[in-house]
């Protein structure tokens, strides 16, 4: 019912609100939050409405309360654990990036098929062989898989994840994955993104107008 884009914006709002909270700000107006998130105030109000939080016309939104509401909406009560598969250059960078961000969403294990990597520890995550995915998933209650293997192996890895009962995949392999409709896949295709920028950079040079307000 709540769209993908709304969820993405809520996640962004939460982080921005966290910064405000750190700075000691108690409340924000929709237009202030909109400005830092680079969206319209109406969009912010609509998104806030979607999670059932209510502000006051005079104070706007109470920062701490709104954060709490977004937490309640986005986070699983008992937290969620993720595993990363493919500890190459990109995989290692992602482990470093994701490690220790939020207790509610933590990276707890990594997998690779290279025996030289198995047994090593990456930011607190032990590396196991890919064959160990299913049992490890069960014992650690892993809900999310991050795929960072080469394109040629991505589908096979996705199949393993699906078979092990994973319902959410963040896929960095440049291949559209074939999974059942019960599994959510978010593809991040870095090559596509770069080529997109290249194209629009060109069109910006020609006519000096933006094709569409960029966001994310």
């Amino acid at each position: 019912m709540t769209s993908e884009k709304t969820i993405a914006r809520l996640s962004l709002y939460r982080r921005l609100l966290g910064q405000l909270a750190d700075a000691g700000t108690a409340s924000v107006y929709s237009h202030q939050l909109a400005k830092s998130a680079r969206v319209t105030p109406a969009q912010v109000r609509r998104d806030v409405m979607a999670i059932g939080y209510h502000g006051s016309p005079s104070r706007g939104y109470m920062v701490a309360e709104l954060i709490k509401s977004i937490d309640d909406f986005l986070d699983a009560p008992q937290g969620q654990r993720a595993a990363l598969i493919g500890v190459g250059n990109l995989g290692r960078a992602l482990v470093a990036y994701f490690s220790g961000r939020r207790p509610q969403l933590s990276l707890v294990a990594v997998f690779d098929r290279d025996p030289k990597l198995v047994g090593k520890n990456f930011h607190g995550c032990p590396c196991s062989p890919v064959e160990q995915f299913a049992p490890t998933r069960n014992s650690l209650d892993i809900a999310i898989a991050i795929i960072a293997v080469p394109a040629s192996e991505a589908q096979a890895v996705a199949d393993i994840c699906v078979k092990a009962g994973i319902h959410g995949i963040l896929n960095f392999a440049p291949v559209p994955l074939n999974v059942p409709a019960t599994v959510y896949v978010d593809n991040i295709d870095l090559t596509v993104e770069l080529e997109k920028v290249a194209f629009f950079a060109r069109s910006m040079n020609r006519r000096k107008t933006r094709p569409a307000p960029r966001r994310r």
Copy 2:
């Protein structure tokens, strides 16, 4: 005029077509290409229409010709060069990822403010201090900047890029950048993406239906 999503799909089609060409396939039907790209056949036909290529009802699209058409549409005739700023964990992985992919879109320089990294070479890209960005941009004709610095420095780096005449930015820093309308920014916010997957993985577990057909 041509939308962001269309460009992203064209980039994907091109790669898929390249694989077909390597396999010796001479022609494809829209439904075949649609299947590997995980979109509808009508979508493929529309996208192909957008670049002005025409297939034949009996043979479908000639693979080599269609690739050529997409190249003509997406690529700059004289090629485009990119630079990456911020050679941390993620930055290094990205350099490795983007290096030597396509001659038409090559990474030629990297920048960092850490003196220990300056002077080093990353996959053929010399590392310069960030202050050198503008002159290097001019001498190497850099059109695209990839920002992989910490959030706290991202805006300052973006300002440098804009001032140096960059019109396309691929931003990995988790901050919405403030740039003039003549600059195209594509934000890849990894935290947001992971939280999105976490949320939908949860909703998949509850009701066994997908909220929307996933693509990219």
